[in-house]
C-alpha cells in the first residue's frame, strides 16, 4: 500500500469540490426555476467516489444509481455532457434520452446508471466476468446505497461474484437512509460489512467521509481485484445531508443527528484536514475552488445553451436498426 501523497489528496479534494459545487449550482437553479430536472442529492457522500476515482483507470468499469452524480464526476464523465444529459439536451451523454437517472459514458468507463435499487449489482458482476474471461486486467466498481442491501438482486450478485471470484468492488454508500426510512427501521443488522462477509468475500466498514481512510480502503480493494484476489464489499459510512430527492421533506430525519452530521460534513472536514494535517495553504485551496467554480458555470452554460433532441430521436436506439421496431 502506498502512502497517500499530498498531490493525490488534493486531487481527491478537487473532485469533491467539483461534486459539491455542481450540486450547489443545480440546487440554486432548481430553486430559482432556471433549471428543471429530477435531482437526488449526493451532499455528504462526496469523499467516497472521489477517493475511489483516484485509484481507478479510465478503462475500468463503473456502475452507479440514480443518486450517482458524484460517481459520474469522479469516474471522469465530462461535466459538460453530464449536465447536458441532466438537462435533457442533445449534447448529453445519452443525447438527452436517458436523463439524470440513466447516465452512460463508456468512454470514461461509466457503463450503467440504473434507476432501480439493486439493479446494477448483477450487471457489474457481468462486467467483471468479461474482464476475468478476457484477462484484460480491468476492475469493476459498483455503487449502491444501504437501501439496496434489502433487495434480492444484491444478494444474488454478491454471492455469484464471491463464487466466481471476479474482479469487482461492491461499494455500499451507507448514508443511513433507504429512501424515507431510517437504517434501524428496516433491518436488525448492526453491520452490513459483517452481514455480507458471510458470502465469502472480503468485507469491511470504512469511514466514507475521510479522504485518508477511503483512499486506503479503495486502493486495497481495487488492487486485490486487479491482481486476481477476488471481490470486496466496502461499507462506506456516510450521511445523506438532505431528503431523498430535491423537493422531498426530511421530517423523518432526527434533527440533532442531522445537525451533527452537517457539522462534520466531508467537504469542510477534509478541507480542515488538508490545512491542519497536510500543511496545504489556504491560497492553494482558494485558487482551486475558484477554478472549479468557473468550470462548473461554464459547463452549465454549455448545457443550457444546447438544443433538445430532435423529434426523430424518439424512434432511434430502440434496436440496432429501426426496421426491427413494429410499425
Amino acid at each position: 500500500m502506498t502512502a497517500l501523497t499530498n498531490d493525490a489528496a488534493l486531487r481527491i479534494f478537487r473532485t469533491m469540490t467539483t461534486i459539491r459545487t455542481t450540486e450547489n449550482r443545480i440546487i440554486r437553479g432548481l430553486n430559482s426555476g432556471e433549471l428543471t430536472m429530477t435531482f437526488y442529492t449526493v451532499r455528504g457522500q462526496e469523499a467516497i467516489p472521489a477517493a475511489i476515482g483516484e485509484h481507478l483507470r479510465r478503462e475500468d468499469y463503473m456502475v452507479t444509481t440514480y443518486r450517482g452524480m458524484h460517481d459520474c464526476i469522479a469516474k471522469g464523465v465530462p461535466l459538460e455532457e453530464l449536465l447536458a444529459e441532466m438537462c435533457g439536451k442533445s449534447t448529453g451523454t445519452s443525447k438527452g434520452k436517458g436523463g439524470p437517472m440513466h447516465v452512460s459514458d463508456p468512454h470514461s468507463g461509466l457503463m450503467v446508471t440504473t434507476g432501480v435499487v439493486g439493479g446494477g449489482l448483477p450487471i457489474a458482476v457481468g462486467l467483471a466476468l468479461s474482464s476475468a474471461l478476457r484477462g484484460d486486467g480491468r476492475v469493476t466498481v459498483v455503487n449502491f446505497g444501504d437501501g439496496a442491501t434489502s433487495i434480492g438482486a444484491t444478494h444474488e450478485a454478491v454471492n455469484l461474484a464471491a463464487l466466481w471470484q471476479v474482479p469487482v468492488v461492491f461499494v455500499c454508500q451507507n448514508n443511513r437512509y433507504g429512501e424515507h426510512t431510517k437504517f434501524a427501521d428496516y433491518t436488525r443488522s448492526a453491520s452490513l460489512a459483517e452481514r455480507f462477509a458471510t458470502y465469502g468475500l472480503s468485507a469491511r466498514a470504512v469511514d466514507g467521509n475521510s479522504i485518508e481512510a477511503m483512499s486506503e480502503a479503495a486502493e486495497a480493494a481495487i488492487t486485490q481485484a486487479r491482481s486476481g484476489g477476488g471481490p470486496t464489499f466496502l461499507e462506506c459510512m456516510t450521511y445523506r445531508l438532505g431528503g431523498h430527492s430535491f423537493g422531498s421533506t426530511t421530517e423523518y430525519m432526527d434533527p440533532d443527528e442531522l445537525a451533527r452530521a452537517e457539522a462534520e460534513e466531508p467537504v469542510a472536514r477534509n478541507r480542515r484536514w488538508l490545512v491542519a494535517e497536510r500543511g496545504i495553504g489556504e491560497d492553494v485551496l482558494n485558487q482551486m475552488e475558484a477554478e472549479v467554480e468557473a468550470q462548473v458555470e461554464s459547463a452549465l452554460t454549455f448545457a443550457k445553451n444546447s438544443d433538445p433532441p430532435p423529434p426523430e430521436e424518439l424512434h432511434t436506439d430502440v434496436f440496432s436498426t429501426m426496421a426491427a421496431s413494429p410499425r
Partner: protein, 336 residues
Amino acid sequence: MTPQQQANAAVADPVCTLSDAVNQAIDIAMEEDSEVFCLGEDIEDPIGGVMKGTKGLSTKYGRDRVRNTPISEQAIVGAAIGASLVGMRPIAEVMLMDFFAVAMDQVANHAAKLRYMSGGRTNVPITIRTSVGGGRQFGAQHSQSLEGWMMQTPGLKVVMPSTPRDAKGLLYTCIFDDDPCIHMEALTLLFTRGPVPAGRYAIPLGVADVKRSGDDVTLVTWGWQVPEALAAAEQLESEGISTEVIDLRTLVPLDIDAVLQSAERTKRVLIVHAATQFAGPGAEIAAVVSHELFGELEKPVERMGSVYSPIPYAAELETLHYPERLRIAEAVRRLA
C-alpha cells in the same frame, strides 16, 4: 425457394431433435467466436442443461465458457447483460419461461432499455434461451407462454421456433444479433425430430414462414401451436377447406406483411397462440389486419388464445385451456 422446393432440399438434411438443433447452433457459434459463452443453472455436463441444450459443450469448451450458476435468475440475466455491454455475446439459460418473473427487472428495465437510455452508446447483445411448458401437466407456474409480456416491452426481440430447422437458424442469428433476444423453446417440441441443415445455418429475424399453402383461410400462429394448426389444416383439406398456415417464427420483429399478403388473398384470418387471448399478441395482429384490409375481408378476424385463467393441472382442464387441433379446425370451419 417455394415450400415444395424447400421440402425437397430438406430431404437431404440430417434429421435431429429441436434440442439437438439448439445444441448445434450454440456449438457452432462458440467455435466461431471466443466471445460467445453460456451461463445458467445446471448447464454444465454431465447434466448439460435440463433440456440438454448445452450437452457436451462444457466438456468441449471448458467450464469458463459454459458455466453453471446458482439458482439466481436476476444474477444470471444481469451478468449476461454486463458482459454484453462490453461486446461479449452471452447466452443465458432461464430454465423455464415462468421464471422470467424473477428476472424481469433485469430483462425489462435493463436489457431492453440500456441501448435507448444510453442514446445508443451501449447495447445488449444477449440471448436468453428459455423453455416454454404447456401441454405437459406442469401446472400454473411451469407452463406459461409469455411472449405477449415480452412484446409489450420495447427493446426485446422475441423468437419462438416450431421446427428443429428453424430453431437452429434462428438461435444462431439471435446469438450474433446486436439486440437482446428471447429464444423460446417449447417443451412439447424439444424432442420432436426434423431435417436440419448441417454446419453454419442462419435464418433472419422478422421473416415468417408459410408452413402450408392454402387459399381459403389464413391461419397465423407460432411455436407449439404450429403442429396443432397443421394437423387441423390436414383434417380440413379432406373436407375441402384449403388452409394457409403462416408460422411467424419471430414476434418482434413482426412480419406483418406476410400476414397481410396472405389475408388479402384468403380474406379470412384466424390467429392462434398459446399466450393468453385477452390483450394477447393476436389482438395486435387482428387490429392491424382489420385496419389495413377494412372492407376487403369476408369475415371479421378471429382469435384463439389461451383461456383467461392460470393454467390448470388436470389433463382434462389443461386440454381446454390451450387452443388445440379440434377447436382450431372448428374455428376455421366457421370462417370458411
